[in-house]
Symmetry: C2
Subunit: 335 residues, 2 copies
DNA sequence: TTGAAAGCGCTAACAA
DNA sequence: TTGTTAGCGCTTTCAA
């Protein structure tokens, strides 16, 4: 019980028992070609000396660090933190540790993060972000380790990924509104260069219009609003455009719109219906509660991490472009 | 530009330039005892070969991993994720990476996490949690690396820590209510065994009562409610106790109480005043907006990490029990 | 200013 | 079943 004495090494254990390093190593790594009696003696010595394997030495010798890198825009964003929780839980289950880096969704920070993870010899990487430039993509590839995109960037098959079908989701809810004779449906997206918004969500919105025979009106698309305060500001413009319904890309911005619109005397959903995407706790605390597209956030993280473990083990992965089912949760902000 | 060819090592660089390993190592580590001409040649070769130092080998040789462990109850909790953001930003500034582990505030998981971090040879640890048992404390100490507690457990000086003065904060807000002749102030705390609640917040509450000459009524103290739904459930009991004001230990539970009370037809703040602690975004999205004790969350994380860098460098740290100032943000849920 | 050489603590053939 | 022996890629004295 006295583990004070200067970190015992595998050498000390071997010496104490009178066996070779290799034997101790075998016991530690659970190899079965060790005689039970020997194993017991070794185990006893390990306990006695309080021996803990040094993962760094192990990593150097085995070229495996049992560490994965997680690249995330911002951990304080509820959407990403829930993904991360799924990642972390599964990582731990498979004995991996998580090295976390925030990037604010910026290319430069992503580059630094990836370079750094490569130096630390991580065994794999989970990448989250709303965009993935060629530059970052090639840096990621250059690391030579498996990478899985989770719940945000939807790579066009360039890398394994786990997502929901953003296009289908946005098409579905837009159609829902159009079918109620709301011809003016506002669409609120993140910044211009987000692949996920420009390429998938906008596309779903346009498809819905097309199918309904409605023309696309650019003045109903609002880009670049991020966070609660931005949503509050946007409210006036949305009202000005005489929108009858709003489809928003995330909960905080939707909540900002919801509150500001009501503070201005309009009624939700009577005067304006609102639906958001992500279904974080924010949707529940709102009054009225916000309808939302539910993405299985924890599961996206968990599935991505599970896929990564397979990739790291060079196991067979079936489909590597996973789309998890989303659901539409209808609450009081829609009718 | 072709970094494809099998990770160049320091050896390859040395060979390419015709110098020894030691010289390359010196250049990489910025030692100034290298002739400029030599340095340039080495740098050129590094660029040419796309050499990236292997941090694992470095860690083994130098016994420094430039990695810190961060132990957190739950990354999806806005309070902790904001602390973590502060930690991560400062860590990166000082060239450290962050190894993250969720513990759900459970002793067993904390023990595993610490053991694991020790094996990975982290240079230091930031510990967050609402309690710190003797067992965990001694495990933490046994790692032999510096540890700083951040924003949650308030160690009684046993370990360096960064916090706000929870007792003072709770005393202040309780007094505020008592001064308005609200003799029945409800106190909502986390689970029983949380040092931070039992020892500090409750103490502040009691002090306020004592100073005001009010007697302590146990039926006004509600323990164990966690999260929004729990807050909603609690509302009925609070009303039943004829509380005139509520002091809650976190925002989500406060929000649950706020919404449930209003849904039941009571007016806030006219019938019941509510104040929460943490001042996360939740306080802003509430209607009416929630008054709250603002803890400088990002700063607590940042300051804790900064202190840890000093400790890891064996620099002088002045006071190691830091209390950052809190503020009382008054919004519409109080009068 | 530079180099030689000895590890850091472990894994992983290969032998025995 | 066990041991021997090379490394893994780097830092760091100690000499030159």
């Amino acid at each position: 019980m006295d583990e004070q004495k200067k970190n015992a090494t595998i050498y000390d254990v071997a010496a104490a028992v009178g066996v070779s390093l290799a034997t101790v190593s075998r016991v530690v790594n659970g190899s079965d070609s060790v005689r039970p009696a020997t194993r017991d003696k070794v185990l006893a010595a390990i306990e006695e000396l309080g021996y803990q394997p040094n993962a760094v030495a192990r990593g150097l010798a085995s070229k495996k660090t049992t560490t994965v890198g997680v690249v995330i825009p911002d951990i304080t964003n509820l959407f990403y933190s829930e993904l991360t929780r799924g990642i972390d839980d599964i990582a731990r289950m498979y004995q991996y540790d998580v090295l976390l880096t925030n990037t604010d969704d910026e290319e430069e920070q992503a580059m630094t993060a990836i370079k750094n993870l490569a130096q630390k010899q991580v065994d794999g990487i989970i990448y989250m972000g709303t965009k993935l430039s060629e530059k970052v993509l090639s840096a990621v590839r250059a690391t030579g380790v498996p990478v899985v995109l989770a719940g945000s960037v939807a790579g066009d098959g360039a890398l394994p990924s786990v997502n929901i079908d953003y296009t289908a989701a946005f098409q579905e809810i837009t159609t829902k509104f159009l079918n109620k004779n709301h011809s003016r449906v506002a669409l609120v997206l993140g910044s211009k260069d987000r692949t996920i918004d420009e390429k998938f969500r906008l596309e779903g919105y346009k498809k819905a219009l097309e199918e309904a025979g409605e023309s696309f009106d650019e003045s109903l698309v609002f880009t670049g609003a991020k966070g609660y305060a931005a949503g509050q500001k946007l409210a006036a413009q949305i009202i000005e455009q005489k929108a009858q319904a709003v489809v928003a890309y995330e909960d905080e911005v939707a909540l900002g719109i919801l509150n500001a619109v009501q503070d201005a005397g309009y009624k939700v959903p009577e005067d304006l219906e609102i639906i958001s995407s992500n279904n974080t706790t924010y949707t529940l605390v709102a009054r009225p509660e916000l309808s939302s597209i539910n993405q299985p956030k924890y599961d996206i993280g968990a599935v991505a991490m599970r896929m990564l473990t397979k990739l790291m083990n060079k196991e067979e992965v079936g489909e590597d472009q996973v789309k998890l089912p989303y659901t539409l949760v209808e609450r009081a902000s829609t009718m």
